[in-house]
């Protein structure tokens, strides 16, 4: 893939908004890879945590928004706990989710939940799931 770099993308309004919403400074990330190394769900992500940060540094907001990484991250904070720069990819991904959900675009619908799940599942899983996936 060839990336056309431009200042307008690097300093794009979505990127600014993301930094404002999350309080994270994207350029602090120096790409050491420690977050990807420890992420328990990295195997299921189409863009792993370290690259999420890199893509955003390059202003590739749209590519990141398409990634399933947003919805796979459970927020276990393993990335943040060990980040030498004090960045939290989990927070960044939550910010991205929030930006989607605030547009009213649900990731998951109530009807999709199976009855079997509802029967035995802890309430907290349902509440948490809705908070993460539903606007």
């Amino acid at each position: 893939m060839k990336i056309k770099l431009a200042q307008s993308a690097i300093e794009g309004s979505e990127i600014n908004q993301l930094e404002r919403v999350t309080g994270e400074e994207l350029k602090r990330c120096y790409q050491c890879g420690k977050c990807s190394a420890g992420c328990p769900v990295s195997f299921a992500m189409d863009i792993p945590p370290t690259q999420i940060m890199r893509f955003l540094q390059l202003g590739m907001f749209d590519d990141v928004m398409k990634a399933n990484s947003l919805w796979v991250c459970v927020g276990c904070l393993q990335c943040y706990a060990r980040c030498p720069q004090g960045c939290s990819v989990a927070n960044v991904l939550e910010g991205l989710r929030q930006m989607v959900l605030r547009k009213g675009e649900d990731h998951y619908g109530v009807k999709e939940i199976s009855a079997r799940f509802l029967e035995k599942a802890p309430q907290q899983a349902i509440v948490c799931g809705f908070r993460k996936f539903v606007s």
């Binding site: 276990c76 393993q78 939940i113 907290q124």
Partner: protein, 289 residues
Amino acid sequence: MKIPYYPGCTLNTVAKDFDLSAKTSALAMGFELAELPQWNCCGATFPLTPDNIIALTAPAKVLSNARLAGDTLTTLCSVCYNVLKRTNKVIRDDKERRSTINGFIEADYDGSLNIIHFLEILRDRIGFEKVKKAVKKPLNGLKAASYYGCMLLRPFEDMGIDDSEAPMIMENLVTALGAEPVTFPNKIECCGAHLAMNNEDIVTRLSGNVMTSAVNSGAEIIVTTCPLCHYNLEKSQPKVAESTPGYKNVPIVYFTQLLGLALGQNEAGLGFDKNQWDARPLLKKKGLL
């Protein structure tokens, strides 16, 4: 001694065994978990962006009500503990967000509550030495793996209950109860959490990693402190056993169930019947029932 107690939604429903065994054990240890007269759901997840203030209002309301009951609040569920403790810190340290939140919930809460986990009561207020002395039926020979998961420990600077990489609080408790602690590599890894709702594959894989890691390290029983971890492990076990040659299912219990048993409480009041993988045959085999 009465300690104000927040059960949270799950302990009032599917994790009744956790609630029950904790209350019973507390009485046996000489204190009472006094459930708050009024409480609501904590929100089940701490919002990771500072911008999401609305998600802080539910836990803030719990805290503000709890403050009327005393200066301390204890809880059992790891997620509740995480959400309440972190929210409390935000309200205590961030004046701006404090006033916004108070505006929403129509209260004047200042973050002066001390949020402690049940484990902290045992370790810091009572002391594991005293717990050990109170043990009537030592869990001799029981190889118990303590599974911490994420929310009890991270982020360290907010939670601070124990070392976030190598916690020992549960092992130390299990040791005090006379059991043999099994420490295993994956004890601080994620179980898959709320993905239980829509991504069973990931949950099975993550919970599977936890359980195989524990069992390979010699565990006969896994001890947890979170109803969601408990659920994910229990539910994933058949698939894990299916795909892991030589794997044998193990019971997954709450630490309070073992605590109550060791303190000589009647098994019937500890909710062992509610566990999907019955611990009683194992406990009988070990002569503990």
